[in-house]
Amino acid sequence: MNIEFYTITLWMTVIWPLLLSIPSLHSRFPWPRHLAIIPAVGLTAIPADVSFNIPWLLYGTGFAIDENVRWILGAVVVIWFAAATISSPSKEKVSSNYSTTLYLLTLTGSLGVLLTTDLVGFFSFSTLMGYGFYGLLIQDGTKALQRAGRLYLYFLIVADIALFEALLLVAFTTEHFQYDMARQTMSDISSSPVYLYMVLIGFALKAAIWPFYFWLTAAFNSSSRAIALLLIAGPITMSLLGLLRWLPIRDDIYILGLIVQLLGAAAILHSALNFFTSGIFKQSKNRFNTAWLIISFTGLLSLALGAALQNPTLWQQYSYIVYPVISIFSLSLSLLILTTVKTHSEPESVDNTPTLIINIFHKLKKWLHLTQQLAGDLKLKTVTLWDRTGSFVIKQYQHVSSGQKITFLVTDWKTNIILFLILGLVLTWLAI
């Protein structure tokens, strides 16, 4: 009887928020966001380890909770509860419904990520969580948040592609997707090392590990406290968890461990630099610091991870510590955010974070504009090429006094992606 009750609680933890996310359902309940976390609270309280297999779902997945997961579940539950309490639903009923739906979908995603037992289930739920979180980020509609959301999305998509390739490699090597078995197989020297690279890149992007932290600082800059809390409980914690679960520990890539350690050290140094130049007692920079705290924490973890990559026995000995460490860190950080006074006023118009390295053409365009402005007044005439599809745009500039015409091919972000792809293909071809 007890086992059955525990099993029900286990899968209710994930199904209940999913059900509630349907707008017509959650509008009938009071406090839907709090209501959704109740099974999860129950699950944390259960003393035993429970697991539950679902062989007919996807490639055969299941849910399970064990000691390590319980640590993180506890932290997550508390943070989500707090976020639910301080999040202020907007005045209109309709948009409040939608934001609750997004909220609940993200919750489902993150709980699912936490509780699934295999890689494919993890990937599916993390996709749900990721896109749900994107929705939450841009829900408020301010320009800075939109930009932050876009950055997040770019990183998310690239990370998902990397993780998909990693999954393919696992499928190529073995048929088992459970964490331990997969890790065991991929740790073997005969399997492809590309898996390791893909996992590292994917989760580094998702967890905003240095130097991929841009979306995190942008998001923290302009979001409300609730979103900040969810950031911690959602993407960051879950991605770190994923890293722990997916990472293979191989003997043969010594130098990778070194690189990871170096990156971790750089992260800590960078955060320290920011800390000292910002001034913690100045109210306006407070939010900025919190992001850097996360970055420094993940940097610390990178240091540890790098060490483990160089010396696999360390992993066996100390990996169990990481779970409680993560949960304690997230709890304390959330506490910090909660206790700061809400100073969210006008978002900073100029974000000092550098534009994406890949966006070379944006820079070129800015430079071009500057030079044109320097060159005097110019008249702009736009000529559209490929009329039928309205795709490429040629802007023709005509200098007013001299009548000289200068033509530029002006591209937008879509073309940038294509050029990026071409660059990628060329590099790949060169590499092969």
Partner: protein, 499 residues
Amino acid sequence: MNWNDWVPLLVVISSLLPGLIIFGLAEDKVRARVMLNLFGALAKLALVSLMLWGVYQGYHYETRLPLLPNLDLVLRAGPLALLFVSLSTILWLVTTVYAIGYLENSPHRSRFFGFFSLCVTATVGVALAGNLITFLLFYELLTLATYPLIVHRGTEEARQAGKTYLRYTISGGALLLIGTVWLYSITGTLEFTPKGFLSNIGEQHYPALISIFALLITGLGVKAALVPLHGWLPLAMIAPAPVSALLHAVAVVKAGAFGIIRVVYDVFGVEFSAGLGVLTPLAWVAAFTIIYGSVRALFQDDLKRRLAYSTISQVSYIALGVAIAGPIATIGGVVHLVHQGLMKITLFFCAGNLAETLGIHKISEMNGVGRRMPWTMAAFTIGAFGMIGAPPIAGFISKWYLGLGALNAEQSWVIFVLAGSSLLNAAYFLPILHRAWFMPLPESWPNEHHFGNKETAWALLLPPLVTAAMALAAGLLVTLPFSPLEWAKLISVREFYQP
């Protein structure tokens, strides 16, 4: 006479007869028309279910009628045929319901539904064809049946679109004809056999066989919209939305892709083709089409055009899966036939809903549509995420198997193509979703119709929800015995492993 011998023919006739009767109905006999349409669709569904059950039990269903000396008209229910026939039948039923709602109060409905039924007859014939000449017959019939649907509206633009469509498809048909006759003159048979029927041909014919392959694939590639034979597809968007839905998800484009599968597996045989060296160019063309279609889609503002280019890109996944020549890639290519059909038809249904209810044709007009039509956009979201390859929707499964197949066949460059395609898909689908869900509503819609307090008519709302649910189920429940994936595995086993 064995009763089983007539079932395939009955499946074909079950939409031909209602179609012919509908032609004769007067415009205002709405109920009779609806009854006939639904009766035909349900009858076909019943017959196809009978065949499925029968094949599972071990029966054979084959109709043979003499056409030429030594060449028969053959309709046979094998696994691949049944896959395509089931897809066509189910989607025809759904599209019929949608079309009834969409074309309410439109002129010339009898004519429309008559040709619609002919179109499905031809598609089912293509699916059940047991040899290349039967395939050719129904393939050309498909061209003839779809032309009146494209020019249905009767405007000058429609006529021009029809003209372009014909230029491409009739030329493609001519190439297919030359290839078929040539093949027949060399081999003396055209029956579809697993692993192909060319293994006994002497080596002196190999150059001819390569040319025949090129001819056949080019002829089929017109309908399958391989670049540079894809020019007709965006123009054909002028047709009403149910036509676009059916054409792009089920009938024309899939018939071309299905033909490519048939030619490579049941005429030439995969190993033989690989030996001839014709699969590599096919893979390149398919890969190029995948990228090209997605790139062109990025720059479209018209919603249906963007979906058209997306179709061009997605159907080449099937060709790519075929060209990689491994059992797992086969699974990926064949299962994508079904998955892409489900997802694409959802997207087109939603696009049609937007046009019908709110007068929206362009993406720039779609701000905030998610609040006005949440269920439609929810279905659209599922379809879009499936196209991007997000789990657990069906598209993820096909991309999985294609990538895995590429790894198994040691063609890792395909992974990059697939990754690039996912990236591009995200680039052109996510902005649509963003606009729909997160942008503020405009003051007024271009051309709004109200349907009481529902967001749109039931006949327009249910079909996309049904197909979106099917796409989701096809992804979530892949391991169940009747899922498209298990079917595709069966087909792959037959082609590669059974003697």
